[in-house]
């Protein structure tokens, strides 16, 4: 473990860290790559093959007999199985049991004296000695090698058709006020706990440390009852944005007060004493000195609270409705897991949209996040 750069152990260290990093990033990478792939390819091949040409078994249908033309006394239907693609056909067949019966370029006898030829570029020709009957075209099974195709179609689809776009707005609606409103409330409380002597202060701090770990589950049923009661009393709906903002504020306050108190208590006493000698009141000291100095701690808390409210599922499921203009991203994703369980193009794109905002916050503000973690590691999330 303690290898200097000259030791041969350092290579082992490099390799094991590389392995660990791969283990930790591959699942997310798979999701991102898959969300950008063509949905037909995504369904039949692993995301790690995304850059290679895949071979797929497909089914096509020739043009209907209406399209036949008479040529040299024979009846001919021509067309192309692959519309506008760059795929290459390698084999074809006409029976579902034997989809690769014939090699590409050969002429196959398909009964009744009819013959079928399929070329590599997907063009086909059916030749019959007599006029062909019926309204539907001949079914053709073929194996095509499909070059890698990346597309934003999946994102376009989930943003509009699957309601992810609306949920994105809902999540923002929940997260922004729920992040900003508690800050001032917590900051005043933290200042009082850090710098204003009063009887019972130590007990209050102990209570707040205790509240840090109270399971959310304890609050759910009583608050649900309370909200229903308040809603019925005032004749308003019980599940509203105001309700969830306040709930998130209540649940976030212990961490906020704890983090900010610890930070403020660490500020030098001399600043406050000299300000007090100059005749500044507690209110002035707080607003003009403590609040600006506490910016790093405020930023840490704001990031935590934003990630927590954006990623939250439980509070939203209990305190917010499930209508199109209320369902948040996490809730929508759970619903999609149920209803679109196998449609990975929808799930991967939706999941990526839900995690992109926290990831941006994470990568741009990681410094404050780490600082907050180090200061408040008593809290259990």
């Amino acid at each position: 473990m303690i290898a200097t750069s000259r030791s041969p152990l350092i290579i082992v260290v490099h390799l094991s860290v590389l392995l660990l990093v791969a283990l930790w990033t591959l699942p997310t990478a798979g999701l991102l790559i898959s969300s950008l792939r063509d949905k037909d390819q995504l369904a039949v091949s692993g995301w790690w093959t995304a850059l290679s040409t895949s071979s797929q078994n497909m089914t096509g249908r020739a043009a209907s007999p209406d399209a036949q033309v008479e040529k040299d006394g024979k009846f001919v239907i021509t067309g192309n199985l692959i519309e506008g693609g760059t795929s290459k056909v390698s084999a074809f067949g006409v029976r579902p049991m034997r989809p690769t019966a014939f090699e590409v370029g050969t002429t196959a006898d398909i009964g009744d004296g009819q013959t079928l030829t399929v070329n590599e570029d997907g063009s086909y020709e059916i030749v019959s000695p007599t006029r062909m009957e019926g309204t539907r075209g001949q079914r053709i099974f073929y194996t095509a090698s499909v070059p890698p195709r990346f597309t934003l179609d999946n994102y376009r689809e989930v943003l509009n058709a699957e309601g992810i776009g609306a949920s994105f707005i809902n999540s923002l609606t929940v997260a922004i006020p729920a992040t900003i409103i508690p800050i001032l409330v917590a900051a005043f409380c933290a200042y009082a706990l850090a710098w204003m002597p009063f009887p019972g202060r130590a007990i209050l701090i102990a209570v707040i440390v205790g509240l840090l770990v109270v399971p959310l589950q304890m609050s759910l049923i009583p608050l649900l009852k309370l909200y229903n009661g308040v809603g019925a009393f005032f004749g308003v709906p019980a599940k509203t944005y105001v309700g969830i903002w306040l709930a998130h504020m209540g649940f976030g306050l212990p961490l906020a007060v704890y983090l900010l108190r610890n930070y403020m208590a660490g500020l030098p006493r001399e600043i406050m004493e000299s300000a007090r000698v100059d005749g500044a009141s507690d209110f002035d000291i707080f607003v003009k000195i403590i609040l600006p100095l506490s910016f790093p701690a405020l930023a840490s808390f704001a990031i935590f609270q934003f990630l927590w409210t954006w990623n939250d599922l439980l509070v939203a499921m209990v305190f917010l409705g499930t209508g199109n203009n209320e369902l948040v991203l996490t809730g929508r994703l759970v619903n999609l897991l149920g209803s679109r369980g196998g449609n990975w193009e929808i799930l991967t794109a939706s999941a990526f949209i839900t995690i992109i905002v926290p990831l941006i916050v994470f990568f741009s503000l990681q410094r404050y996040l780490v600082r907050g973690l180090l200061a408040g590691s008593v809290k259990g999330g």
Binding site: V13, I169, A192, L220, G250, F251, L314, L359
Partner: protein, 335 residues
């Protein structure tokens, strides 16, 4: 869009209301008990009164919110756990008696203990190892950032990511889940991992370990850097090898931090809900307490008595850690 404007409007309104409250009450206090411009006993008396009242004015909104959203519900949940499904009829301990006989509850308790044994231990272990390893290499910070990243991802998002990893296609067709693809490539049989009782718990735990290792790593990395250089230098001079230095010199010096990380993850594990809900919803014997509690909150119109009693069980499991935290925090303040 309209609701977003409404949200921003409320936010500004809320912040303004806070400003008005804090400024207003503070101003009012100074008006009623003026100390400036007065002399003698009246001034010092007023000063004493304002100094006694002001902290409570500063704390009032926060204490009010904490009281409504956390303190009152704890007592109310305990009360409800002793009542019937609607919360009207006192039923004594019958909810808890029901629990002991309920196979789903026993399954949840068993699974929760499995989670408690595995997740904090492995997250802390991986976090410690990664912290120690990345400190030695030049691209350590990049590696740390990447391993820390899942921390920002929601449990539901992580569930989708891992559901894709565990995806199962019947034997013979091409596997698109990477785990089954590896198993098949090594000559094994593809498995529907989520449906194998007992072991599926571990596949769910992997998700939480994946998320929490970054947290453990960040905290432990800072602790490792705080170790005084001299202790390590002395060990090197005494001829200790790398492993000895790590396990006998460094780890003992950060026991306190390891304990904090361990308990923090333990608390999180007790409340694990989203992952199980999104992956299996408790099917195939993967039920856990938090999900069972949520289930009873709404099952058949909602059984508040049973739901609250399961919440109380989670609370009881948390209490030892809560006491330990409070003792640590008070000791730190006295120092």
């Amino acid at each position: 869009m309209q609701q977003l404007l409404f949200a921003i409007f409320t936010m500004v309104g809320g912040v303004l209301a806070c400003v008005v409250y804090f400024f207003g009450t503070n101003w009012l206090l100074d008006k009623i008990f003026p100390s400036k411009g007065l002399t003698g006993p009246q001034a010092s008396k007023n000063l004493r009164i304002t100094n006694a009242i002001r902290p409570w004015l500063f704390m009032a909104p926060a204490l009010f919110a904490l009281g409504i959203y956390l303190v009152y519900p704890v007592f109310e949940s305990v009360r409800l756990s002793l009542h019937d499904r609607s919360g009207q009829q006192f039923v004594g301990l019958s909810n808890f008696r029901w629990m002991l006989g309920d196979s789903e509850f026993r399954q949840s308790i068993f699974n929760n203990f499995l989670w408690l044994l595995v997740v904090p231990a492995l997250s802390t272990f991986f976090g410690l190892v990664i912290a120690a390893l990345t400190d030695r290499i030049w691209w350590g910070n990049i590696a740390k950032t990447l391993i820390f990243m899942p921390m920002a991802i929601s449990f539901v998002g992580a569930a989708v990511i891992w559901k894709f990893v565990y995806d199962y296609r019947s034997e013979g067709s091409e596997q698109i889940g990477i785990l089954n693809a590896i198993v098949v490539a090594m000559g094994g049989q593809p498995e529907a991992w989520m449906t194998i009782p007992f072991w599926n718990n571990f596949f769910l735990m992997v998700i939480l370990i994946w998320i929490q290792t970054g947290f453990a790593m960040v905290i432990l990395s800072a602790a490792l850097r705080g170790i005084p250089e001299e202790t390590i230098e002395a060990a090197v001079i005494d001829g200790a090898n790398g492993f000895q230095i790590f396990f006998k010199i460094m780890v003992p010096q950060i026991w306190g931090t390891i304990a904090v990380v361990w308990t923090t993850i333990t608390i999180l594990v007790l409340k694990v809900f989203d992952i199980v809900l999104a992956m299996t919803n408790g099917q195939w014997q993967t039920q856990v307490l938090a999900n069972l509690m949520f289930d009873w909150m709404f099952r058949g119109g909602g059984d508040f008595g049973r739901g609250a009693s399961i919440a109380v069980v989670i609370m009881i499991l948390v209490i030892p850690i809560m006491i330990w935290n409070i003792r640590n925090a008070t000791r730190e303040m006295e120092r």
